[in-house]
């Protein structure tokens, strides 16, 4: 990939990451599973409801005993909603029952308390009930062995609720992809430090970590290294030991002090240019079997490169919906470089228009933060005028 198009490099990255993104299954506690994606379908281990029970506070009866009305039946006991193994209901009697109480053998209907009068010893019922009325039968919601949840489902609260209702404490979900992030550059210091002239705060570590998490993946390792090959090798070793894939930023240009290129090129890295702006320099490698995707170091280049080449792949595995991509109308024109795909920044104007914002330079990190759209200008377009339709990606 000395020179590649965006589509070619995207396909190359997808192929390189494919083994690392193979779905793996892990079991997580249902209380930790919100937003996770089921790795298999989940069969129901029990009948739900677990047993025949009353849908109302009232009296469990034999419906046949209501053939002649009014019917007055002796109250032979009480069944609350709690552990109980009630005696069978004999013909010609009623038992007081609470919502959720176990239906006694022999009873086949519940008379709601509001449709009855009782003196404590007997109950008088004036309305007939057919068999099954106000009874929640065992298995009437779902039967043991039926599919409780499908494969590939993003778990919301109602799904976790039914897992709990079935007595399950964990659920098989797609394992989160473990990502390592290595930012490079001797000019970078961490936020909170006091910069000397020539030093810049490292925003790429924060940007990549948050962007990775937003796709449903986890950051398993994170480090910043100076322009020092030994330090870079050490960081790569740690990254490869703890993650499924590695992202780096910086150090892949043709200038001097390009630590990523200098470290990985002897190990077979492919370093080159992609016909895009920002984000032209791009590289890939495999380090100890772990794919390494190397982004350029300018903050806007890093962030847009991640969004273009990595985010769609990670979202697919993470079960996270992709931000909307739709066409909008430019409010003003602009020029573009022939042969390069431009990823300009813009802000939405109403439902269908977009205004370019923030300038095209790849250091304009505040401009990017103030934007809410990427505006894509294809390789063969050199001029756009107000009213032209452009593809936009929500950020």
């Amino acid at each position: 990939m000395a020179h590649a198009t965006v589509a070619e490099h995207a396909a190359h990255v997808a192929a390189l990451l494919s083994p690392a993104l193979e779905p793996r299954t892990e079991s997580v506690a249902i209380d930790d599973a919100l937003g996770r994606v089921t790795a298999t379908s989940v069969p129901c281990p029990v009948d739900l409801p677990l047993f025949d029970n009353s849908q109302m506070d009232g009296f469990a009866v034999r419906s046949a005993d209501l053939a002649t009305l009014p019917a007055t039946l002796p109250i032979v006991g009480e069944i609350a909603a709690r552990p109980s193994d009630p005696l069978p209901l004999l013909p010609g009697s009623a038992v007081r029952i609470m919502t959720g109480g176990v239906m006694p053998a022999g009873a086949d209907a519940v008379v709601p308390v509001e449709d009855s009068t009782d003196d404590g010893a007997s109950v008088t019922i004036t309305r007939a009930r057919s068999a099954g009325e106000y009874v929640r039968y065992r298995g009437s919601d779902i039967r043991q062995g039926d599919r409780l949840l499908p494969h590939g489902l993003r778990l919301g609260s109602r799904h976790l609720a039914v897992l709990a209702a079935a007595g399950l404490t964990s659920v098989p979900v797609l394992a989160r992809v473990r990502v390592a992030i290595i930012t490079t550059g001797s000019e970078l210091i961490q936020p909170g430090a006091v910069p000397s002239l020539g030093q810049v705060f490292d925003s790429n570590a924060t940007a990549l970590a948050a962007a990775v998490r937003a796709t449903g993946a986890v950051v398993a390792f994170r480090s910043h290294v100076l322009d020092d090959r030994a330090a870079m090798l050490a960081a790569l070793e740690q990254a490869a030991a703890s993650a499924d894939l590695i992202f780096t930023s910086g150090g892949i240009s043709m200038g001097e002090y390009e630590v990523v290129r200098e470290t990985l090129e002897p190990l077979g890295a492919k370093v080159g240019h992609v016909a895009m702006q920002p984000g032209g320099p791009q590289a890939t490698a495999v380090f100890e079997g772990v794919p390494v995707i190397c982004f350029p170091g300018n903050p806007v280049s890093t962030q847009i490169s991640f969004e273009v080449f990595a985010a769609p792949l990670l979202r697919d595995v993470g079960g996270v919906a992709a931000p909307a991509r739709r066409r909008r109308t430019l409010t003003a024109g602009t020029a573009s470089i022939a042969g390069k795909r431009q990823f300009l920044r813009g802000t939405a104007v109403g439902e269908s228009a977009v205004t370019l914002a923030g300038g095209p330079s790849s250091h304009l990190v505040a401009g990017l933060a103030a934007s809410d759209l990427l505006v894509i200008v294809p390789e063969d377009v050199t001029e756009l005028v107000a009213g032209d339709s452009v593809e936009t990606w929500e950020l």
Copy 2:
């Protein structure tokens, strides 16, 4: 609220929760701030870029020295992207500079390396550059004191990146609402236990905890209590000590063993009926200054009550977008009870239709899990036919 409409009870709950949902500010580390909402606007503490620097690998020059071309200038040094305080550039000379390198005083343009030839000692330049070309000026992205981020912004990776770029390590965000959850009922056991006849797995604790988290709030306390007033009081004490508001499930009907009603009614709880199905029994209270919203115990009633009365309020504070609510066309008709708002379950059919699913009973927790929409039937509607338009809420 012995008897209330859905709208009346929703307004009552909103008023009761209002003090607990007042925005409070907390400072969180930028690495923990993804998805949080800014509590104030954030001014930029520095100029970005921090200093004038080169946009390219090349040579820093005085543009006036390129008036006659080709211009051959002695190379007087090198400025890398790292801490440095370069000497001023004297007229008639050039300094090798890397992308991000500090521009020396006197230099006002950068000649990209690809537009030059050099022998190490001197560089020959064949193309004129105007002042400012390929220079990133201090403050050209954002100036110290300008607004870096607005108030009320849900933080994405690009926003966290610009905070880091400005050297900030934390950000003021809206504090998460702290919620306590108490489920009640002597018939309930926790998932994973072995049920005796009459026992049911508690799905409400899981459902409410996940639904609370999905709104951006946190679960600060969670307990299940048996039908025992002393235990309920103890749980309420702990809940009130640790949370901004309390949700309970179960124990508010008119039957016996109604532990929430029996505990809170003497303390002034309002217990009554809302004209809705499922979810008719509803109650509210204030316990030691903390609002208590009491939902009925049937699992579907609990979940729908939370979605109707609590979720919209919590999402507003949590900065979480509400699920879509739109009208769809029924694929088949149904009857509805006069005077009650029905919240039926349905599944989407294409973009614009909905099929009722899962049955209306409030114990059908698997049916709810298999649905993706709530279908709202207004109080005054008793019959719907295929093709009728109904309001639907995405779950």
